[in-house]
Symmetry: none
Subunit: 204 residues, 4 copies
Amino acid sequence: MVYNKTEKIIEKQQNRKTRILKAAREILEKGTNKDTSIKAIAKKAGIATGTFYLYFADKETLIDTVVKEIYVELLEIIKEERSKYSDIFDKLEASMEICIKTFMKEKHLAKILLEHFPEVNNALNCKFTDIENDLIRFTKDDLYELREQNLIPDQDIQVSATAFVGTFRQVILSWINSGEPVDYDRAYKTLIQYNLRGLGKQIK
Amino acid sequence: MVYNKTEKIIEKQQNRKTRILKAAREILEKGTNKDTSIKAIAKKAGIATGTFYLYFADKETLIDTVVKEIYVELLEIIKEERSKYSDIFDKLEASMEICIKTFMKEKHLAKILLEHFPEVNNALNCKFTDIENDLIRFTKDDLYELREQNLIPDQDIQVSATAFVGTFRQVILSWINSGEPVDYDRAYKTLIQYNLRGLGKQIK
Amino acid sequence: MVYNKTEKIIEKQQNRKTRILKAAREILEKGTNKDTSIKAIAKKAGIATGTFYLYFADKETLIDTVVKEIYVELLEIIKEERSKYSDIFDKLEASMEICIKTFMKEKHLAKILLEHFPEVNNALNCKFTDIENDLIRFTKDDLYELREQNLIPDQDIQVSATAFVGTFRQVILSWINSGEPVDYDRAYKTLIQYNLRGLGKQIK
Amino acid sequence: MVYNKTEKIIEKQQNRKTRILKAAREILEKGTNKDTSIKAIAKKAGIATGTFYLYFADKETLIDTVVKEIYVELLEIIKEERSKYSDIFDKLEASMEICIKTFMKEKHLAKILLEHFPEVNNALNCKFTDIENDLIRFTKDDLYELREQNLIPDQDIQVSATAFVGTFRQVILSWINSGEPVDYDRAYKTLIQYNLRGLGKQIK
DNA sequence: CATGAATGAGCCTTCATTCAT
DNA sequence: AATGAATGAAGGCTCATTCAT
C-alpha cells in the first residue's frame, strides 16, 4: 500500500513537472507578445503560482530546463539517425534530413531552439548561442573527417560548419514563420544540395 | 529673425531626434544585460525622459526606427557597391563582400541587425525577421536572374536565397561574438565560395 | 496491548510537541536573520510541515507557548532560590543573582525573553511586554514590603520596579550581544549595588 | 520665473519626502500588527507606490532614515539642554529630564527609538542597538568624569551606564504603553533619584 | 516645447495555512 | 494521525508612459 502511494505521488509529481514544462513550451513558442509570466505559465499548467516553485527554483531554471530538454531530444534523434550510416557524407545527410524533419514536425521545438527569446533574460540567450555552437562543433567533426579523406577541398572548416548550421537555422525558421514551401521535396533537396555543394562535394 | 528662430528650432529638433537615435543605437548594441530603459536612453541623449515622447510615440517606435535606419544604411552601401559591376555573379560577390566588411567594421550595426534582442519586446523581433526576409528577397532577385541566364542549375530559389542569408547571419555573428578568425582572408573566401558553390556556380 | 499502544501514542505525541518546542526555541534564539518559517521549524523537529498544525493552532500560538514556557521556567528557578531566604533584601538580591546566572548560562533563554523578535509578528511582542510587566509586578511586591518595613525611602514603587527590571534587561542583553565583561564579579556587583542603592537601601 | 519654478519644485519635493517620512513614522509607531508595506506607507503619504522609490532607494533606507532622524533630533535636544549647565550631575540630571520630557511629549519618537521593530528586517534592529549603545557611551563619558572627581564611588562604569539607560528605556516605554503615571512628578523624581542613588551620588 | 516627477500595473518570489492521500 | 504538496495572498520593486509646471 505504502509503495503504491509513493508511486502514485511520484507519478503525479512527474506529471506536474511535465505539465509545467509543457505549458512553458507552449507559451514560449508562441513567442510574440505573449505573457510569459510565472503566473501565466502556472495558470496554463493548471496549478497555483506558488506550486511552480515546488518544481523549479526560479524562472531562469525553468527556461534553462526547457531549452536543455529540447536540445537533448534533438541530439538524441540525430545520433540515432546517424548511427544507421557509416559513410560520413551519408551521416551528414542523415543529420540534415532528420533535423529538418524533426523541426518541421515539432515546430515549437524549432521555435524555441532556433529563435532567441526576447522575454527571457540574457543568460539564456547565451545558452542558445552555446547550443548553436554545439551544433557547429558536431558539424566540424564531420567536416574534418571529410577533408582528411579528401572528399571535400581545402577550406576553413570552422567557417563552413558555421555557414552550414546557418543555412538550416534560417531556412527552417522561415518555414516555421511563413509556412512550409509548396513543393516541399524540392525545397528540401535544394537545402541539402546547397550545403553539400557548398562544402565542395563532387556531385556525381 | 523669426525665420531664423524657426530654422534653429527645426534644426534643434532634428538634432534631438538624431541624438536619441544615436543614444538608442549605442545602448542597444551593447545588448547584453544592459539597462535599455527609456530613462537611460534619454539620459544618454541628454534630454529629459518626457521629451523622448515628443519625438517617438513609444519605445517600440524608437526601436523600429533604429532598426530601419540601420537597414537602410546597409542597403545603401550594398546598392552603391553593386552598381560598380554588371555581371550578376560579380554583383552577388560584391554584395557579400561589402556585407561582411560593413558588419565587421561596424559591429554594433551587425549586432542590432542580426541578433534578436531579449530586451526588446516581441513585436520587434518580428521586424528583424522582416528585414532578414527583405535581404532574402533581394538575393532572390539575383538568383532568378542567374538561373534565367543558366549560370546556376535548377533549384528552389527561395530556399537557396534563405540559406544564403543564413550563412552570413551565422558566420558574421560568430565572428562578432567569438572574435574574428585568425586567417581572415581564408575564412572570408571560404564563406563566399561556400555560397557560390552552394548555388551551383561552376568554379573555374 | 491496546493500552500499551495508547500509552505509546500519547507518549509519542508528547514527544512530538516537546520536539517542536525545542526546535522552535533553537531556531528562535538564533534570532538574527535566520529562517524561522514553519517549514524550517518542522524540519528541525523531524516532522512534516502539516503535522505542526496538529500540535499548534498556528505560528503565533507556537511562539506564545515557547515564550510562556521559558518564562515559567525562569519563575520557577527564581521562586526556588528566593525560598531560601527570609529577609526581603536577601530575597531580592537572590532574585537578581539567579536571574543573571540563569540568563548568562542559558543565553537563548535570555535572547528569547529579553529581545523582541523581528521575525515574529507584533501580537507577540505585546506578549513580551506582558512578561516584562509580570517581572515588574513581582518586583513591586517586594518593594512594597520593603517600604512598609521602612527599609527603603518613600518612592513611586511602580517606577522603581520598572527601572529595576530595565537595568537587568539592558545589562544582560548587552552582555549577550557584546560579550560578557572581563571582570565579571565587579560588573555583577555593580549591577546589584546600582539597584539596591537606587532603591535607597542603606549600605552598611 | 525659472528660479521660482525650481524653488517651488524643490519645496514640493521636500514636502513629499517629509510626508513620506511622516507617514512612515505614523505607521511605524502604531507598531502593533499594522501593515507597514510600502504600498500602505505610500498611500498614507498620498502618493503612488512607485513614487516612493523616487525619494528612497528601498524600504530599508526609509526606516534607516526615520530612525536616524529621530535619533538626531533627540541628541540635538539633549545637547542643547546640557549646555545650560556646567556641573556634571546637573548635566546628567538635565539629560534625564529632557529625555523624559521629549519622549513623553512625542511618544511616537519614543516608540520608534526604544522599541525594536518586528516588521523591520534585522539589519535595522542592529541599528537600534547601536543607538542604545551610543546613549550608553555618552552616559559613560559623564560617569567617568564623575568618578574622576570622586563624586561617585568606584564601580564598573560600563555596567552602570548600561543600567542607567536601561531604566529609562523600560520606564518610558511602560508609560507609553500603559499610560502615564497619575502622580507624574513623583514618578519622574523617583526615576531620576533611582539613578542618581544607583550611581552612588551622596544625597544631601 | 521641455521637463522630470508621478503613476500604477505587473513581475518574481515567499510562506502560513490547508487538504487530499 | 501524519504527510508534504498545493495554495494564493502579499510584498518589494521596476519601468513605460503621462502630466503638471
